[in-house]
């Protein structure tokens, strides 16, 4: 009886988290496959390398998860990475305390995100277009501030704070990534803000008619989302030791890819932090794996693209399976066509 209950609960868990379970399986299969071709792939050094690679995309993808679930998108975060990089680099070089550098960096991210959110919520611009604009002028500011030159000479104090070695192979950056991921997960699943993020992405009008201040929360979603990119920028600066206005080009697409692989719906309302973290790991693991097994650079692009498409398609199939007509009919819901006609 007891074990039966446990089996039931396990079954329910698998059903509710089918996306995440699928990703874990894919991750294991992929690792085994690359490992079989080249055992070097599963060496501790390589694994840490993958995790390190996943950190930057992963942090950006964490923030993008909120934005995508709310039904939006933000193309500007690659530029934000560069802008915060050059500003904070200047501060760090000038001898500002590392913790103050971090605080300013996150504040800028929050502010830029709030601006993007304002354009979407208050000016009613389409997220794609609004953030496409932001992508360009934020990149412009980064160039203006840096004059186009890389800013070098980041003090070790700063670098150790964001990317120091904790124990063998584990860096603070990884710890930061995990911490931010946990915070994001709690935000999304256990706060009002998270509840509204799903609701707005699912049906903005119904949410508004439930008395939710939708505009305010949409602005907050972008602010929180871009703040994650700010953390990524701070870590990246510590890793590279230089601030460059050309940094992060195309990173927004990698972040979106990780979110999509993680199972979030670009139409909004669906997605989660666990999925995104797994998506980021899968994405980084794939990139490293293709190099390790010696796939030609050009073919790497092809393979990466295919994985994104396949992942997106598997999400579609899953969505279809979880809404089988049989289950709908079980409770007597009418198909939408019939309802429309019945409304006369």
């Amino acid at each position: 009886m007891r074990s039966g209950g446990a089996a039931m609960r396990l079954k329910q868990f698998l059903k509710n988290n089918s996306r995440e379970v699928g990703l874990v399986v894919a991750l294991v299969v992929m690792t085994a496959l690359f490992g079989a071709i080249n055992p070097l792939y599963v060496s501790p050094a390589n694994i840490t390398d993958i995790i390190n690679q996943a950190t930057i995309y992963g942090l950006m993808a964490l923030g993008m998860t909120f934005i995508v679930i709310s039904g939006g998108i933000d193309l500007s975060i690659g530029s934000v990475l560069a802008l915060i990089g050059v500003i904070v680099a200047n501060m760090a070089v000038a001898g500002v305390h590392p913790l103050l550098c971090v605080a300013v960096g996150i504040a800028i991210g929050f502010g830029v995100g709030a601006m993007n959110g304002f354009m979407v919520a208050k000016m009613n611009l389409q997220p794609f277009v609004a953030t496409l604009g932001a992508m360009s002028f934020i990149r412009g500011f980064a160039y203006v501030i840096s004059g186009g030159y890389p800013i070098i000479g980041i003090p070790p104090g700063y670098r150790v704070l964001v990317d120091g070695l904790l124990v063998s192979g584990i860096r603070t950056s990884v710890l930061i990534f995990l911490t931010v991921a946990v915070i994001c997960h709690i935000l999304l699943k256990h706060t009002k803000f998270g509840n509204y993020t799903y609701a707005i992405g699912g049906n903005e009008e119904a949410t508004r008619l439930s008395g939710v201040k939708v505009d305010r929360y949409k602005i907050l979603v972008y602010a929180v989302g871009v703040s994650c990119t700010a953390v990524a920028a701070l870590v990246q600066l510590g890793k590279l030791g230089t601030g460059e206005a050309s940094a992060g080009q195309g990173y927004e697409l990698n972040a979106i890819a990780a979110v999509a692989i993680g199972g979030a719906s670009m139409a909004g309302g669906r997605g989660g932090i666990v999925g995104t973290v797994l998506g980021a790991l899968l994405f980084a693991g794939l990139k490293v794996g293709l190099i390790v097994v010696g796939v030609d650079t050009f073919w790497q692009y092809v393979a990466t693209g295919l994985v994104i498409v396949v992942a997106a398609y598997s999400e579609k199939i899953q969505a279809k399976l979880s809404e089988t007509p049989g289950r709908v009919r079980a409770w007597g819901a009418q198909p939408s066509g019939a309802r429309r006609a019945a409304d006369d």
């Binding site: 008619l209 008395g211 939710v212 289950r327």
Partner: protein, 509 residues
């Protein structure tokens, strides 16, 4: 001379949980303007949809010119010259008039679109209709009346022999209505058969030759309009045994001394003007009107979903400024919108999240949401309203219509809402679920809440209301007390007629 153009023979149409048409047979003569009449949900649009190939009948057949005509889809019907001028205009707004008219049947010469020829033809069509806009005008620059003209031009271009209009004057100005009628009569003069659905009886008397009345999906009769008094027409539309199941089972509980909501001359540019009424504790106030009377818009205006352009709202004796649904919710007002699926609940959320959506503040401890408390609360309210299944993890979208409505109501019960505005609360749900919703409403007013029930169904409004506000064309045409409830009378006010006994109207100021 009897020349049958369209014959409906024993048409039945069954939707899950509802028979929309019951053995309907009627004949439309060639070249007449034929009205289809009936209340909301009588089956008029269903009949038209069958004619136009939107869906087939469950049994029975449609004959055109004596030949069976079972169109597989809308395009089949259009190719045969059976064309509908839509309630919601179906043109491509970013394209020009010409492009729209020729959409799908462009004139080409050796694969290249022949713009000149299409322009000439469009110009010919437009001048024939007396339209003064250019073929190259983009459709989104036209007003609704002009868009309708484009649709009519398109129908002529496609050599239509049957054109149907579903509520064509819905959003037209008086002048545009005149133009439309003139063109409809021109189409008739060219021998085109016209089907016409409208709730406005004046229009029927102006342009229709005969009228067929449907009621609850059944054929009632076909009458020559000229020889039929308006009153008899109305009676044939209604005339049914009221209150089979829509009735109150407990003693009335209105506290006439306690006004919880007073609206004074509220107006909005979404289509309502000078709305004044009051709502009392323990009262169910019915809002009746036909499609387009402005009831939903009025509710949205009061709730802050659309802006009020004038008037004041008082709640519990205090004037309140409601500028958004958030303000309304804070004032303990709740709204269950007419369109449950697109506005009432969120598809991707489960019952738990939908029920708690309006009251998350209640479950907040520090920065966190108390999931346990939320779940307990959702289960408790679910049990109270007999939600089936009462499972917080169940997705609302997979529930039946009645249970979905219960979730929407549960959402407001979880807040401290004292006043509930229920817009068509029983639309599209089966009789059993209706009875449950009615019982729930009664329970709520007994607890001291007040309810506004917007409905287009007479038996429901008469059976459930303590008073009835009747709206016509964006204004209140009467507020009736219980001893004045009478189907014919209510419907007369709803179609814009003045009451037969004007002194009996208790219109509030």
């Amino acid at each position: 001379m009897y020349d049958a153009h369209i014959e409906f023979r024993n048409i039945n149409k069954v939707f899950p949980g509802q028979q929309a048409l019951k053995d309907v047979s009627l004949t439309i003569q060639r070249g007449e303007v034929h009205a289809l009449l009936g209340e909301n949900g009588a089956g008029k649009s269903t009949l038209l949809n069958i004619l136009h190939g939107v869906f087939g009948p469950t049994s029975g057949e449609v004959r055109i010119n004596g030949q069976p005509a079972a169109f597989a889809n809308v395009h089949d019907a259009i190719r045969t010259g059976v064309i509908k001028v839509h309630q919601e205009i179906n043109l491509v707004p970013e394209m020009t008039v010409m492009q729209n008219i020729f959409l799908g049947c462009e004139i080409t010469r050796r694969g290249i679109v022949d713009k000149r020829a299409m322009q000439l033809e469009t110009q010919r069509l437009l001048s024939g209709l007396g339209c003064r806009f250019s073929p190259d005008e983009r459709v989104n620059h036209l007003n609704v009346g002009e868009m309708q003209m484009v649709q009519i031009a398109k129908a002529i271009h496609l050599r239509a022999s049957i054109v149907s209009f579903d509520e064509p004057t819905f959003s037209l100005t008086a002048r545009e209505v005149e133009t439309l009628f003139d063109r409809i009569l021109r189409l008739k003069a060219e021998g085109i058969t016209i089907l016409y659905i409208s709730h406005k009886l004046d229009e029927i008397y102006r342009i229709c030759d005969r009228a067929t009345v449907l009621r609850d999906g059944a054929y009632i009769g076909t009458f020559p309009v000229a020889r039929l008094p308006k009153e008899r027409l109305i009676r044939s539309m209604v005339g049914r045994d009221v209150a089979m199941f829509a009735k109150r089972h407990r003693p009335r509980c209105v506290d006439w001394q306690d006004v919880v909501l007073r609206v004074k001359s509220a107006s909005g540019n979404t289509g309502f003007q000078d709305i004044s009424f009051s709502l009392h504790r323990g009262e169910i106030l019915g809002f009746f009107g036909l499609v387009g009377a402005g009831r939903t818009e009025t509710m949205r205006g009061i709730f802050g979903a659309d802006r009020l352009t004038g008037g004041t709202v008082e709640m519990f004796g205090q004037e309140v400024a409601i500028k958004s649904p958030a303000d309304a919710t804070a004032q303990r007002l709740g709204l269950a919108p007419e369109n449950r699926k697109t506005q009432g609940f969120v598809r991707v959320l489960n019952n738990l999240d939908n029920i708690s959506l309006a009251s998350l503040d209640k479950f907040q401890v520090g920065p966190f949401q108390l999931r346990r408390a939320k779940e307990t609360s959702a289960r408790r309210v679910g049990a109270k309203i007999n939600l089936t299944p009462n499972d917080p993890g169940f997705f609302t979208t997979n529930l039946s219509g009645g249970n979905q409505q219960k979730v929407v109501i549960a959402k407001w019960l979880t807040t401290d809402a004292e006043i509930l505005m229920l817009d068509e609360p029983t639309k599209g749900i089966d009789v059993g679920a209706k009875a449950e919703i009615y019982a729930l409403m009664e329970e709520l007013v007994h607890q001291g809440k007040a309810i506004i029930m917007v409905s287009g169904e007479l038996p429901e409004i008469i059976g459930m209301s303590d008073r009835i506000v009747v709206m016509h064309d964006g204004r209140i045409s009467a507020i009736l007390n219980r001893d004045e409830f009478d189907e014919t009378r209510i419907l007369t006010y709803a179609v814009g007629g003045s009451g037969d006994a004007p002194e009996a109207i208790s219109k509030e100021q």
